[in-house]
Symmetry: none
Subunit: 225 residues, 2 copies
Amino acid sequence: MKVLLIEDEPSLATDIRKYLKSNDMLCEGVNDISTALEKIAAYEYDCILLDLMLPDGDGFEILETLKREQRQEGIIVISAKETLETRIEGFHLGVDDFLVKPFHLSELLVRIQALVRRKKFNGNNLVNFNEIEIDILTKNVKVKGVKAELTKTEIDLLLFLIGNKSKVLSKSAIAEHLSGDMADMLDNHDFVYAHIKNLKKKLGEAGSEDYIKSVYGIGYKWQHE
Amino acid sequence: MKVLLIEDEPSLATDIRKYLKSNDMLCEGVNDISTALEKIAAYEYDCILLDLMLPDGDGFEILETLKREQRQEGIIVISAKETLETRIEGFHLGVDDFLVKPFHLSELLVRIQALVRRKKFNGNNLVNFNEIEIDILTKNVKVKGVKAELTKTEIDLLLFLIGNKSKVLSKSAIAEHLSGDMADMLDNHDFVYAHIKNLKKKLGEAGSEDYIKSVYGIGYKWQHE
DNA sequence: TTCTATCAGTAAAACTTTCATTCAACAAAC
DNA sequence: GTTTGTTGAATGAAAGTTTTACTGATAGAA
């Protein structure tokens, strides 16, 4: 995950960079608009963190460039103060999220992750894994070109899994997700087993070719690129 | 990991408690300020979850107490609505994170864990011996920075040993401890040998550099400062 | 009817204990 | 100081136990 940080306040910038790095992200920092535009021209990022008040102008310039070039990066604006106007203007220019100073670094992290997760499914709605094709939007699933009739829960489970690709999801996390936070479901692993089983069957898992991998003692993960 | 939940809405409180418990945390719940203050006076927690709107006042009182007494607990505020002002005031009073209802339990969990992880770097719970790091609370063990997967018995044995550092423990004492006072285990030394062996292996003992020293004819001791 | 949750029985994995064997420590005799 | 016998300790592998996961059938809910 690559993040570009455009922020001229050195101490905050350092803090953010350190924090993101310690959470397994690559984070480059620049402190003015012109350098930012160079970077953006040269590289692709997953997410851009933008402070609006910069020494050589205000950050909307960058937003316009990104929009003109139809870039796909997620954009989070960091600002000291935030008015309804800047917010509206920002959203028109493609800003995905606002964060008002002072904020906690953990919140920034959560928002970046949420944003990137959202973005990943935008643009092209089709996700492919070998013989499986999933349309995120219409929630149609095809296995070897043939439509698979998944139930609501099964689709929900499938999207949860592929949305956390290669991350292991605990059974209670899955239970929470599927049951919509019904706490009395959390320690009921049977229904997780059941849905996993049914989903695997409909995805045509023949054993050798596993999409959903069970992790003993913990839960499941989607293992497929 | 011990969590204190201060929340007066019973159903939410129950949900949270169950969820945290199913994720291996100890969670106590109270529903007003006075009980909370009693608990805080009597016990130490890793993390305090605080709803600001409580029947007998607002939660800032608790924050002030915690701050006055320079307590080390991580604090996450759970609130129905959140203004910039409460947020700033909160941070000044030592709040580490805010969570606005409604939220997903999994998000709460992630934040607690992230918070506690951060806090831990301000020294506690961690015991170090050379290349071994033991977290007494979470019972996680790292060898050369890599997590070692110890079984329940192995952790039990390890804690017994380091808890009696440099004291020699007889094999029957170890047997008694591990078997939970099963009398027929006391003169069975084979299983002590076995567990010692497995533990040594997982701790990466290369022979030269011994943590667990065997004392001929008696038992074992942990020799390391 | 379709979908979801539960149950009971089975399978699989991990963990514990035992066993047989080899290796090391101590003590007595030379 | 060396030899030798005896006992204690370490080890790998196997058997036994417990825990966790999977499955098909079924009953209940939508």
